[in-house]
Symmetry: C2
Subunit: 196 residues, 2 copies
């Protein structure tokens, strides 16, 4: 056994626990606190298992899940960037790239490469797996905002037009789920969870 | 599209968010708070991705990850049962079985059956995938206890003999990782994180 290899893998496994301390803008469904990126990653991985039948194209669900499990690791260094914060999004790519360089390279080189490939694929939204993975990421946030009566949307002045623009890529991963998501926005408007 | 089917899947996806409120006895690695079962499930799923080369037998990693993603869902109703609490473990199986009946059956019947099969397989520890999945579950808890200086072990009067007995099944999933885990126990004894 290569003890140095195992050491790197264990060090990485310890490092990623920090993702539990990265808070997102979304609330848990009971509204008690902000969701962290570790539990969010778990939640959308389970959703991918159960909703894969709605993918726009034939997908390898296992690859979708692996992408979702690692897609937020860069936030350990870069923090969670609120999708409606235009200023913070200006240097998001650069911050996350630096984070990927540091964090993934804790792993043995072959695994660092594999994780980097998964992360690049997720970010690029070109493959059927990536498109579906991104649908899960966005749909879950919409569900949380809707079922907490739009508290975070209202707090940050988010309008239905902003939500529709931000989440339109759901359609690329799953037309059926985009249809469902659009109905959530309509309902949110009716209930006053969102301004038009 | 079968709207009733999608409704059930979405209802289930909302229901499982409650796992974020189930606290385990283990602490996060920074010692700041107790870990919850959702972030724990995420953590060991990533570990399974990266440590699968140490499995005792050839495994389907994708199935291991699916098992780990859903293995703790029953705790939404049954709570987390501390592995060293003999009394609470007397009716653990019964409580978790009732939870599985209620929670999984929110899903459409075919998916309820699939999730139940995954959970049964995890609990039975008979297949190579289940043995490896259980190794991840136990190894991660040991790592967290060790790297928080055994605070929870000492608080609950857990001895090295208890830790070795509880975690011996790691050997069935991965002899290499059991060797690593035994060294952690030795080191914990030396450092006073554990009593013999």
């Amino acid at each position: 056994m290569d003890i140095q290899r195992l050491d790197k893998q264990i060090t990485f496994s310890l490092e990623i626990d920090k993702l539990t301390g990265v808070l997102r803008r979304t609330l848990l469904l009971d509204g008690s606190r902000h969701e962290n990126s570790a539990e969010h990653s778990w939640h959308i991985s389970v959703m991918a298992m159960l909703l894969s039948e709605y993918a726009a194209e034939s997908i390898d669900v296992s690859r979708v899940i692996q992408m979702l499990l690692i897609h937020d690791l860069v936030e350990i260094d870069a923090g969670d960037t609120y999708c409606y914060d235009a200023k913070a999004n200006l240097d998001k790519a650069e911050r996350e790239l630096q984070a990927a360089e540091r964090i993934f390279k804790i792993l043995p080189a072959d695994q660092a490469r594999l994780v980097r490939e998964l992360w690049d694929e997720f970010e690029d939204r070109q493959t059927p797996e990536s498109k579906f993975a991104n649908s899960m990421d966005r749909l879950q946030a919409m569900m949380h905002n809707y079922h907490t009566q739009g508290r975070q949307w209202r707090k940050h002045g988010v309008t239905s037009q902003m939500v529709l623009a931000r989440n339109a890529p759901i359609a690329e991963g799953s037309p059926v789920l985009w249809e469902y998501a659009r109905k959530l926005v309509e309902s949110a408007l009716e209930k006053g969870y969102l301004d038009s």
